[in-house]
């Protein structure tokens, strides 16, 4: 039964110490970046730099959104890690044998992981956002900025939650595809933090790449979902609309998971 498999997946996550370690990391990660950005974005703008176009002055809404989503990068990196570990630790500690013995239909196991991770991603997304909003609102209030310029802030928060959930699924896809947990973690974080931003930057100098490839990169798509103060030179690519960008992230998750699942079903488990 699908429900049983999903319950089993939730239990797997909440019966190791990982869950509260990550909860603390997400809460304080969100809070820390919100505080930093809350201070930076409320600095007095340098009139000369603004005039030269080197500094963009955000509207109060842009400032609030930027502060509240400042920890998003660290947040989605952590949900990515959760997604990888939900399957990776099964390969690492060979509990995947017991899992497939209690549920021999492997596709069902993978679907259960997807559903469980949507839930876990939402829970951890909320934890991260609570950290960001509480710390960010205090800083904005203290520095004389409006902590809640309008209901659009809620929209940005809801979209952040979507991003965090989608990255957990991307993590699952990576974890299924690369059964070596340590390798999967290093590769995923390395791509998300180093390779992909560099690729985005490099492609910006190539017209076709800038117009047709860059905004499909995962971190670019993520930024497109939660737009804040855009700060980019003339080479910056035009972002996708939020729903198209969300579909792009979902497509990454779906393709990685599908290929990984297809391989897992055929694989010999030892």
């Amino acid at each position: 039964m699908m429900v049983n498999s999903i319950r089993s997946e939730f239990l797997k996550f909440f019966t190791t110490r990982l869950w509260w370690g990550l909860a603390i990391a997400m809460f304080f990660g969100g809070a820390l970046f919100a505080v930093i950005l809350g201070i930076v974005l409320t600095l007095e703008p340098d009139p000369e730099a603004v005039a030269r176009g080197q500094q963009v002055v955000g509207t109060p809404l842009q400032v609030a959104n930027s502060v509240y989503t400042a920890g998003l990068t660290i947040g989605y990196t952590l949900t990515l890690v959760i997604g990888i570990m939900q399957i990776g630790s099964e390969y690492r500690h060979k509990t995947v044998s017991s899992t497939f013995l209690s549920t021999p239909r492997r596709v069902r196991v993978m679907l259960a992981k997807v559903v469980a991770l949507l839930g876990i991603g939402a829970i951890y997304g909320l934890i991260s956002l609570v950290g960001s909003v509480v710390a960010g609102a205090i800083v904005l209030q203290a520095r004389g900025a409006d902590p809640f310029p309008g209901p659009e802030v809620l929209r940005a928060l809801a979209l952040s939650l979507l991003v965090l959930g989608l990255w957990a699924l991307i993590g699952l896809g990576v974890g299924i595809l690369i059964p070596n947990q340590v390798a999967a973690l290093l590769i995923a974080v390395g791509v998300a933090w180093i390779i992909e931003p560099l690729a985005g930057f490099a492609l910006g100098f190539w017209e076709f790449g800038r117009d047709h490839i860059v905004h499909f990169l995962p971190s670019q798509a993520t930024n497109a979902i939660v737009e804040g103060v855009t700060q980019g030179g003339s080479n910056a690519a035009q972002p996708l609309s939020w729903w198209a960008a969300a579909l792009v992230l979902a497509a990454y998750a779906a393709v990685l998971s599908a290929v990984g699942t297809w391989r897992t079903v055929r694989q010999d488990i030892s």
Binding site: S8, K12, Y91, L101, I269
Partner: protein
């Protein structure tokens, strides 16, 4: 489930089962049957293909050809696998950061079994308190008991255990023996693998012996032992042999001056000796050396030891099964 009458066992049938890894044939046209209500030892030297066979039976490894069924169905086609088959494959299959009890809760949830069943099993395997500690701290014996508890969660009709006495102390082995006896008396089908016949000799009713992935012997342990004989030492073996022949009992001289008599009746041999006026210096039932027989059946052909000329570099069983996974550990 727990109040129902003891579950009847189910038959395990393996037919022409074959598994190749590249050019290496791990299991070769293997055919055998495991009957309910009996304990069957699945024996063979390390690397004979036991684990690969069990994993194919459990749907974890895909066979190249042939079939392996439990109660007529492949493992993947069984609706509630935990209530049909319980298995303990490796004592290390636990997340070190998760407690043993939580490990069982995860499995119970997957099968829709109540948590009360988890505590029942921990009680039954004698580890209720220890199972609340994280599994990384467990001794080998503790892991084996936890694995057994996991296998029994769904009150299965068939029990498949891979080297269950590995790492158990003599006390643990005795406990396991009694436990398996008890389960088989309920009519369950029990298959226990081991690389040592000696280890399971007193536990099992039947044996399936494989070597190099092929069946070399299948049958009851009693058949393996052959007819019982008696060992007697006296001052004049030839005279005693003659007296025994008169009593219709055949005998033959042993290697060390003793007489090997073809009977299990020690008293008869003693009486004959007394009537013949011969002193009895030693009189005992001779235990058939199963270990020697096992070695004979499987020796010389072990591909993993190799004689250096025939076999290509042969991977061990675990490597063969693990394939690329080995590099990830």
């Amino acid at each position: 489930m727990t109040t129902a009458p003891a579950a009847q066992g189910a038959t395990i049938e393996v037919r022409d089962l074959t598994k190749t890894f590249g050019s290496f044939t791990a299991v070769d046209q293997l055919t055998f049957t495991v009957e309910p209500g009996r304990i069957t030892g699945f024996l063979g030297p390390n690397g004979a293909g036991k684990t690969t066979t069990l994993r194919m039976l459990l749907g974890l490894v895909h066979q190249t050809s042939g079939t392996a069924t439990i109660d007529g169905r492949a493992y993947g086609d069984i609706d509630h696998p935990q209530s049909m088959v319980g298995s303990a494959l490796e004592a290390t299959n636990f997340h070190p950061g998760r407690s043993g009890r939580d490990h069982l809760r995860v499995l119970a949830a997957a099968g829709g079994l109540p948590v009360s069943r988890v505590d029942e099993l921990l009680e039954l395997t004698g580890i209720p308190a220890a199972a609340r500690k994280r599994a990384g701290e467990y001794s080998m014996g503790m892991r084996q008991r936890l694995g057994l508890a996991a296998a029994l969660l769904g009150d299965p009709r068939v029990l498949i255990l891979d080297e269950p006495s590995n790492g158990l102390d003599p006390e643990g082995i005795r406990w396991l023996r009694g436990f398996l006896r008890h389960l088989s008396s309920q009519g369950k089908t029990i298959l226990v693998s081991s690389h040592q016949l000696q280890e399971v000799e007193q536990t099992v009713d039947d044996v399936v012996i494989i070597s190099n992935g092929r069946l070399v012997r299948e049958g009851a342990v009693s058949d393996l032992r052959g007819a019982p004989t008696t060992f007697v030492r006296t001052s004049d073996p030839a005279q005693l042999a003659g007296a025994l022949r008169v009593a219709d009992v055949m005998s033959s001289p042993g290697s060390d001056g003793e007489l090997v008599v073809e009977t299990a009746d020690l008293r008869l041999v003693g009486d004959v000796a007394l009537r013949a006026g011969l002193p009895v210096w030693e009189l005992r039932a001779r235990k058939h050396d199963l270990e020697a027989l096992f070695f004979e059946l499987t020796e010389g052909t072990n591909r993993n030891l190799g004689d250096g000329s025939s076999a290509p570099p042969a991977p061990t069983e675990r490597d063969a099964v693990t394939g690329q996974e080995g590099a990830n550990a």
